[in-house]
Amino acid sequence: MHADSARFPDNVTAARRDPMLLGALQRLQRDARAGRAEVIARLPEFEALRDAAREIRNGALANLAANLERFEENVIANGGAVHWCRDAAEAGAAVTRICREAGARTVAKGKSMVSEEIALNAALLGAGFDVVETDLGEYVLQLRDETPSHIVIPAIHLTKDQFAETFRDAHDALPEDRSLEEARAITDEARGALRDVFLRADVGITGANFLIAETGSVVIVTNEGNGDLAQSLPRTHIVVTGIEKALGTVEEALTLVRVLARSATGQEISAYTTFATGARRADDAAGPEAFHVVLVDNGRSDLLGGPKREILRCIRCGACQTVCPVYGAVGGHAYGAVYAGPVGSVLTPALSGLETAKHLPEASSFCGACEAVCPVRIPLPRLLRLWRQDAFQAHLGPTALRWGLFAWSALTAWPGAYRAAGAIGGRVLRLLAMGRPRLARLPFAGKWTGGRDLPVPEGGTFVGQWHRRRGK
């Protein structure tokens, strides 16, 4: 499914008709809430760590140029190379060139959202490389030609049976009558299939959770171990990552590690937190001979200079997706973007343009659940509101809404007229409703009522009631 953001309203309708998806989302939201609460209850310093994490990310953004330069210097000092890429095309070309120079055939990929952002697999497959996703969720998605629907649980929209079905189709050398009833059997089959890939891969590609300026290290935080195999066995290790991830010190990264897994998966810490620094040393027993870091800007430096800068604090924990009632109601694919949920609704207009992504900032009730869980305290509702303002100024909304807002703001300047209009409006709605408590359709607002009912006002306007009660 390669949906696009412009089709968000249609995607929503389709998602709401998919009972398996809705079941999966319900389970996710229930379990994650409990998991996060439990793990946070065991760490009294958690809120203080969130404050520190926010300041560390703010500092990293303020010092970004110096951090990146220092990082580059230390990568080179440790036998690696850094490639600066302004956009997806430059990044795809850089990775392709490195693979070609390495004489690669097979490329083992660890999980990387930036690689999704730059459509890296398509670029590499197009250049003739055998590129294989090795994260369990990403692997099944690659076999199905689908995109991730969540930052940290990419195949959350799939059922166990869909995993099994996909594996039956893909692994046709295995006995047909084998059982894939249990998640265990499915996992073991993937383990077997991908072991081979790790052992024969010429290049391993991973993402990065953090870059560290003082040491030139790349940090990845994972649970399966595929990212570690991908950066230990092949001759060449390529890191594909966004420029905003550069921190100053190891200690800053360790503070972020303390809030990352707790927010993402309700774990105290992920199974593996790995610091990779440069290429293998001359006397090392093993390890990649070549180490490349591909730094991707792709709109980030523009965000840095604008009012939505704070979104760059994001450490991609996915908590805002997991907790969001809109995400929970429609799933990740409906957003038609690499990043779904609140974080995606702020990022996507910057990455693919507000014109295509104009529906996404609207997909929020501003309930604030995202901001309440964000480990780096990004004011996501406020940033969404800024996009709504931009969309209004760019005349991207429906004309009826525009006129309605103009009329409303004109009326508010005349309290008497406002009150009269309110009273008349209420009466008209009651007439239209003919005794029913809700209106399923409204003249001139058919689109709006297409997705929801309007409750019919009871008992007069607020101001009217106020005066009546005070009079008593």
């Binding site: 760490l43 009294p44 790995t274 040393r281 430096s301 800068r309």
Partner: protein
């Protein structure tokens, strides 16, 4: 200098006209602080929570004996490979039949490695690569047996890095904080232990006087 590099750094500098700002790391949680005995208890509790089996021996040669016992009981198949970490030298591993030293191969079922430190905060191990250690030893075989020196059980992640970088030593190519065996909840959020990395992690703590 390449044009993209100058472009990107130029845009960043334009967005950040001010000087560099000082940044301080966050607080180290109280659970990462305390007396050696308390840290040791917390380390074991963390291992339990992460699904790691463990045993404590009181002499270095006792490590080999404990690993022999563990292998006899757990009975994992495949080859047996250990790193050349000097820490393993006094452990009497030669008693283990068929033991190889060096990098792991596809057919290996068990790896034995040392550790830089044990970390009480979350029952975490710090491991590294080096001339004596092929990093894949920590990830490729089904079963990983890790030896921890009780004197190097520290409180917090920062303390482990301080040990590793003592005297200004540069970071090895790979340093990993390992907490429990490999895992995934990608299939319907059902927790599976042992995806690409080890299914079983066994820790032998040596508390030699």
């Amino acid at each position: 200098m390449s044009a993209p590099r100058d472009d990107i750094l130029g845009r960043i500098r334009a967005a950040n006209p001010g000087p560099e700002v000082p940044v301080s790391p966050g607080p180290v949680p109280a659970r990462g602080r305390g007396e050696a005995s308390a840290l040791r208890q917390r380390f074991f509790a963390g291992l339990d929570m992460a699904g790691v089996s463990h045993a404590t021996v009181t002499s270095w040669p006792g490590v080999g004996a404990e690993i022999e016992r563990f292998l006899a009981e757990a009975g994992p198949g495949g080859g047996l490979v250990a790193s050349n970490d000097p820490m393993l030298e006094p452990c009497g591993l030669d008693r283990l039949p068929g033991l190889r030293r060096g990098a792991p191969e596809a057919g290996d079922g068990v790896s034995i490695t040392g550790t830089v430190a044990g970390i009480a905060e979350t029952g975490t191990l710090m491991v590294r690569s080096g001339p004596d250690i092929a990093n894949a030893l920590h990830f490729l075989p089904d079963t990983h047996v890790a030896v921890v020196d009780a004197a190097r059980i520290v409180g917090a992640y920062e303390d482990a890095f301080a040990l590793l970088r003592a005297g200004g030593a540069p970071l090895p190519r790979n340093v990993t904080l390992i907490t429990g065996p490999s895992r995934s909840s990608d299939i319907e959020r059902i927790l599976q232990i042992g995806v690409h990395g080890p299914r079983t992690l066994h820790v032998v703590v040596c508390d030699a006087p």
